[in-house]
């Protein structure tokens, strides 16, 4: 017997004596994240309904495959073949590893899915079911240390998605000076992604956290201070941005299939 049932510890047969609804939070987290995984997997493999002038789904941007529908690429730049080893590759599959990797290695999401999916632990002071535990010291979890590389890649993606939001201020014929519900959806989505990225712990470390003497680096200290303020809300930005990206994709898909009409404000 190990853990709370170890021989020297107080002999209490319950795994936890908590009386509150400790299981509710991991259950909600599991439900939301699992739903997102199912939906995003379906969308990543669907390979269509991701572009309708002037909107492109964030799941498919930047569109780098020869399979990308006309108009969805950036200046016709399509360096990746439409299929690999005779397998027709959805354009989303080429790029999703980067935002997915960023979220998978994110310090907040680690807490969320270790608790909700791996029950390690399911909640504070609730005994976990596993016999052995080595944390993030061995493969594959030691790869969590690659978070900063996904963060850098995520910043590049944010630039592309911001570009998508900007060019959505056009009409179906490419004329500037228009704004639709779709523009608003992409703008909110890309803005929340910036907040999520900039509030990241790695961003905080890179900008100033690694310094020993703030006094010698006043600009980096100021940046660190600002990011620290955002960092308090990293969890919220993680959820808001996830929901916003999912909704942006749903919106573009619905408009692309003709189920919804993209209403223009002007």
């Amino acid at each position: 017997m190990s853990g709370v049932f170890s021989p020297t510890r107080a002999k209490i047969k319950e795994r936890t004596l908590r009386t509150d609804k400790w299981w509710l939070q991991p259950l909600i987290t599991f439900s939301v994240l699992f739903s997102f995984v199912i939906y995003s997997t379906f969308r990543a493999f669907e390979g269509k309904n991701y572009f309708t002038e002037p909107l492109i789904s964030p799941f498919y941007s930047p569109c780098l495959s020869e399979a990308c529908v006309p108009g969805s690429t950036i200046g016709g730049f399509t360096p990746v073949s439409a299929d690999i080893l005779n397998f027709a590759l959805s354009p989303a599959l080429i790029i999703l590893i980067f935002p997915l990797g960023f979220r998978m290695t994110c310090y907040y999401y680690r807490k969320a899915y270790y608790r909700a999916f791996w029950l390690s632990p399911p909640a504070c002071a609730v005994a976990e079911p596993h016999e052995k535990y080595s944390g993030e010291t061995k493969a594959p979890l030691i790869l969590q240390n690659a978070h900063r590389w996904f963060f850098y890649a995520g910043l590049v993606f944010n630039v592309f998605l911001t570009y998508d939001a900007i060019i959505s201020f056009r009409d179906e014929h490419g004329q500037w000076g228009h704004m639709s519900v779709g523009s608003l959806v992409l703008l909110v989505s890309s803005s929340l992604l910036w907040f999520y990225s900039l509030s990241c712990h790695t961003c905080r470390h890179t900008l100033g956290g690694r310094l020993k003497h703030f006094s010698k680096h006043p600009v980096r200290y100021k940046l660190w201070t600002w990011v620290s303020i955002l960092n308090h809300k990293h969890q919220q930005f993680a959820w808001y941005s996830l929901a916003a990206v999912a909704f942006a994709d749903i919106y573009v898909r619905q408009v692309a299939t003709g189920a919804w009409h993209n209403i223009y404000f002007f």
């Binding site: 190990s2 853990g3 709370v4 170890s6 021989p7 020297t8 510890r9 107080a10 002999k11 209490i12 936890t16 004596l17 908590r18 009386t19 509150d20 310090y107 680690r110 807490k111 270790y114 608790r115 390690s120 632990p121 504070c124 002071a125 609730v126 005994a127 976990e128 596993h130 052995k132 535990y133 080595s134 944390g135 993030e136 010291t137 979890l141 030691i142 240390n145 690659a146 978070h147 900063r148 712990h201 790695t202 905080r204 470390h205 956290g209 690694r210 310094l211 020993k212 003497h213 703030f214 006094s215 010698k216 200290y221 960092n231 308090h232």
Partner: protein
């Protein structure tokens, strides 16, 4: 005005023990430690409980109340619904001695394994000067009262006794962070030893330590994650490693 409170207290030692039900008077404004003392004075004269300041500053009265690690002196009885039975047990991560008292010597052994502050050799006592912005990060960690609630709730050792050999725990990660961020500390290998000797890599960031800290120290966000990032700098980031070889980079 006094009311009756149903209390379940774990009584026993390392060989055996059980939860015992008692009913005790409770007055408005009282904390759990008050009613434990009343039980001790009126019904269980030999009830063992460790306490000292009754002000949330000594860290002695750590226990688990309705399964949550808390300071008994800072837990208002009124924070529980009237009529609810309150269950009080000793900390479940450390060996029990008697009733609500546990043997927390594990923590003192771990404290001794952390290398002390290393002062620059060319600075005589009294000559050290530091700017406030350079020390304020470390000052947050100095609020620690060593109640060991964070150590108790950490599942790495709570649920895996065998990890106690290789894992220092959140209280000592904030100590390591405090020293590594200290503007005058000159010991260079704190990051590597944090990972290789004190088990920083075992932490999976589930933030329970932060949730239970009575001093509201942001243990995970301000100490553990920054230390994990500093470890990445020296162990897992080839670009940073190369940069440190080409020119001296501060913080490594």
């Amino acid at each position: 005005m006094a009311r009756k409170l149903n209390l379940r207290i774990w009584r026993g030692d390392s060989d055996s023990g059980a939860l015992q039900d008692v009913q005790v008077d409770v007055n408005e404004g009282e904390v759990v430690l008050d009613v434990i003392h009343r039980v001790q004075a009126t019904q269980m004269g030999d009830l063992a409980v460790r306490w000292n300041c009754k002000a949330g500053k000594c860290g002695s009265c750590s226990m688990e109340i309705n399964g949550k690690p808390r300071l008994a002196c800072m837990t208002q009885v009124a924070s529980y619904p009237e009529g609810e039975t309150i269950t009080v047990t000793p900390l479940r991560t450390f060996p029990v001695i008697k009733d609500l008292v546990t043997d927390v010597s594990f923590n003192y052994k771990k404290a001794m394994e952390i290398p002390a502050y290393a002062h620059p050799a060319d600075l005589a006592p009294g000559e050290a000067r530091m700017e406030q912005i350079d020390v304020e990060r470390s000052q947050e960690f100095r609020k620690c009262i060593e109640c060991f609630l964070c150590q108790n709730v950490c599942h790495v050792i709570r649920d895996h006794e065998e990890n106690k050999k290789s894992f220092a725990g959140p209280r000592f990660f904030i100590r390591i962070a405090e020293l590594d961020m200290h503007p005058l500390d000159i010991l260079k290998n704190r990051k590597k030893t944090a990972q290789e000797e004190h088990g920083l890599g075992m932490c999976n960031i589930t933030k329970c330590c932060t949730e239970v800290c009575p001093e509201h120290i942001r243990i995970t966000d301000n100490a553990i994650i920054p230390m994990k990032e500093r470890v990445v700098d020296v162990k897992y980031d080839p670009a940073r490693w190369l940069g440190s070889k080409i020119r001296r980079r501060e913080g490594i």
